[in-house]
Symmetry: C2
Subunit: 242 residues, 2 copies
């Protein structure tokens, strides 16, 4: 049975981290909410898991993965589950924990990137919190992006198997997620991200390497890859970049 | 060898989630940064792991756990590691994933609670972002606390082993973390949290049950439990509550 990925159909968002793993591994999966309601898919098929009283493990929010009887929410937990099944994480407990720790740190940056345009709350439009966003984005740009990228650079630098991957000598889901983070930062903050990446050459190389991965490249060129847009996590509001 | 917990010595913060697990299990551990520098402890012993070039898996930030050669950062990853070792998680993969997913959702609330007083950035004082904090805290109070607590209530309600625990029929690290979240919300937002908890009676009962757990109760009454204060994640600024 194919994996079912459930996520909002018109944005990359947090669902993209699971999508990239499924695509890079060539896994059989259905992007449920993007399907037709007539086929039992679409948004109702997704919200069913969040709203129906019969679901024992209801996810708090999309994305979530359904694999037979298993339902897993939270992007990092989805990758914890998929990693070993898709061959996207090392076999040792040490490798798995380290990969997960890196993923959780990527999730932290993603949350901060989101809050750079929504510092007051997700319930309000950007236009209603623009003044606050200008201050928050400045702090994110001038301090946080640099600090996080420096940490990923250090992780690559200290990998005894070489700096091509974050953990060990092979592609892991953390590499895919770091690629996506860099893509997102370059989209939302082209000036600030480019500047910070100048000081993180290994991160940039990893990004470029992932983009050339055969299956990832095919995915990125396909219609399955939703373009970045101003409803997602990474939004290009020129006034927030500098 | 005792576990080494590394965290800022004067706040509960994110370190408290690991501390509660260690305490509830009666584990042998050292709270390193609270020790004396003369004994090789204190803050320098902590920052060593973040700054020394010889550390292969440097944590991005405290808290982190050192167990022999293993270093684990990110509170949720620390609990993923400690859970099976301390008997604070079920044995099946399903139970472990579900417990972790709940923990990650608790971590999301904790991040939002932090941002309620620091919506612009961690690099600035509260006083320098008070205006933004008033708006953010309002959104957190009126929408988010309620939404998150309702989800935890549903999780308890749907536990086939009864509503005394989030997962299965025994205490897990997620129960301890939910206790801590409720403690924090009641400290920081006494009015709003009390109101929301009126609609989440199972969450409140779980909180009260954990507080009575023999080892947890002894810990809470000890000097090892740092009181809440206005340097931590949960801060009582009366102007942010209503």
């Amino acid at each position: 049975m194919p994996y079912e990925l459930h996520y909002w159909p018109s944005i990359q968002g947090r669902g993209e981290f699971a999508r990239l793993a499924l695509e890079a591994a060539g896994a059989d999966y259905v992007d449920v909410a993007r399907g037709c309601e007539e086929d039992g898919q679409g948004i109702p098929a997704m919200t069913h898991f969040m709203e129906s009283g019969g679901v024992r493990h209801p996810p708090f929010a999309p994305p979530f993965l359904v694999d037979g009887k298993t339902i897993v929410g939270q992007s990092a937990a989805i990758l914890l589950y998929l990693g070993p099944r898709l061959g996207l994480v090392g076999k040792s407990e040490t490798a798995r924990l380290w990969t997960h720790q890196i993923q959780l740190t990527i999730a932290d940056v993603v949350a901060e990137a989101h809050d750079s345009h929504h510092p007051v709350g997700t319930g309000l439009y950007y236009e209603d919190q623009k003044k606050e966003a200008l201050r928050r984005a400045k702090a994110f740009r001038t301090a946080r992006i640099k600090k996080f990228l420096a940490w990923f650079e250090t992780v690559l630098e200290r990998n005894p198997r070489g700096g091509a991957h974050l953990v060990g000598g092979r592609l892991s889901y953390a590499d895919l997620s770091l690629f996506q983070l860099v893509e997102g930062l370059l989209y939302a903050f082209p000036k600030a991200a480019r500047r910070a990446l100048n000081n993180a050459p290994r991160v940039m190389d990893l990004h470029d390497g992932v983009a050339k991965h055969r299956r990832v490249a095919a995915y990125l060129a396909s219609e399955r890859r939703i373009p970045f847009n101003e409803d997602g996590i990474f939004r290009r509001y020129p006034e927030l970049d500098a």
